[in-house]
């Protein structure tokens, strides 16, 4: 199960946060989350799972220097997004890969969610 959660982050930096765009799909075995975060490097990226929240925060590595800026479609902002995850994932098996500004998170579904039949022992 994956849903959006309101981010409770307080801005430590002067910059405001932007929300990276996400594509999420699921298979029988995994959830795949792809986030667009141009200008983010591994050193400036934080991915943690805290209780049932998967939190992604990152700083942009694009310089903020505005003195010689002549035109801008964008301003460098930090990224933040939080997802709520259910019991159906294995918290110790989350893979995170950053490539060319795209963060790909692969969440393994845990064995436990598959339906199981319980044997009933008849005593008399």
């Amino acid at each position: 199960m994956m849903t959006e959660a309101n981010s409770k982050n307080i801005t430590e930096n002067r910059r405001v946060f932007q929300t990276p765009l996400a594509d999420i799909y699921e298979t029988d075995d995994i959830y795949s989350v792809k986030l667009e975060m141009p200008g983010v490097t591994k050193e400036n990226l934080n991915v943690i799972i805290d209780d049932d929240e998967l939190k992604i925060t990152a700083e942009s590595s694009i310089e903020e220097n505005e003195s010689d800026l002549k035109y801008a479609d964008f301003y460098p902002k930090n990224f933040s997004r939080t997802f709520r995850v259910g019991n159906d994932i294995d918290r110790n098996k989350i893979d995170a890969k950053l490539d060319n500004g795209i963060l790909t998170l692969t969440l393994q579904k845990s064995e436990e969610i598959k339906p199981k039949k319980i044997t009933v022992n008849q005593v008399n």
């Binding site: 019991n87 989350i94 893979d95 890969k97 009933v120 008849q122 005593v123």
Partner: protein, 150 residues
């Protein structure tokens, strides 16, 4: 998927409270059972749900049902008890003054709180009472894990 503000539950016994709420809801919203249709069940066994330090327990009155006609399954957090009470042949010669005992199939589901060990679930049928025992999982699940990015 759900949007909107998600309230963090108060951390004092959240699981047991939500478990009790689920069970209460089962009894209150009689026609809104999460199961595959109340209307599929011709009768419902009475349930007792309780816990102690170690386990959760569910007791169901299922007199007249053999183990082979009983099913207990766990699917994620949802425990489903279902079964079939085989109808006794009504004797031709007997004169029925009162016929209250029902037969047929039933199905009841409960959502268990997340702190349980799935592999520990046991079912025992004795004297017409099915007891399902579920061991609690005390390990703290809410540790923060930092994920390495490669």
């Amino acid at each position: 998927m759900k949007f909107g503000i998600t309230r963090k539950t108060n951390n004092s016994m959240p699981e047991l409270r939500s478990f009790r709420n689920d069970v209460n809801r089962l009894f209150d919203d009689f026609f809104n059972l999460r199961t595959a249709g109340l209307f599929d069940s011709e009768w419902l066994p009475a349930l007792d749900v309780y816990d102690d330090e170690k386990n959760f327990y569910i007791k169901a009155d299922v007199a007249g049902i053999d183990e082979k006609n009983l099913d207990v399954t766990i699917n994620g957090n949802v425990l489903t008890l279902s079964g079939k009470k085989v109808e006794e042949k009504k004797d031709e010669g007997k004169n029925y003054i009162f016929s209250e005992r029902r037969a047929g199939s039933f199905s009841r589901s409960l959502t268990l709180p997340s702190g349980f060990k799935q592999k520990s679930i046991k079912g025992e049928l004795k004297n017409g009472v099915l007891t399902v025992t579920i061991e609690k999982d005390k390990t703290v699940k809410d540790e923060k894990i930092k994920i390495d990015v490669h």
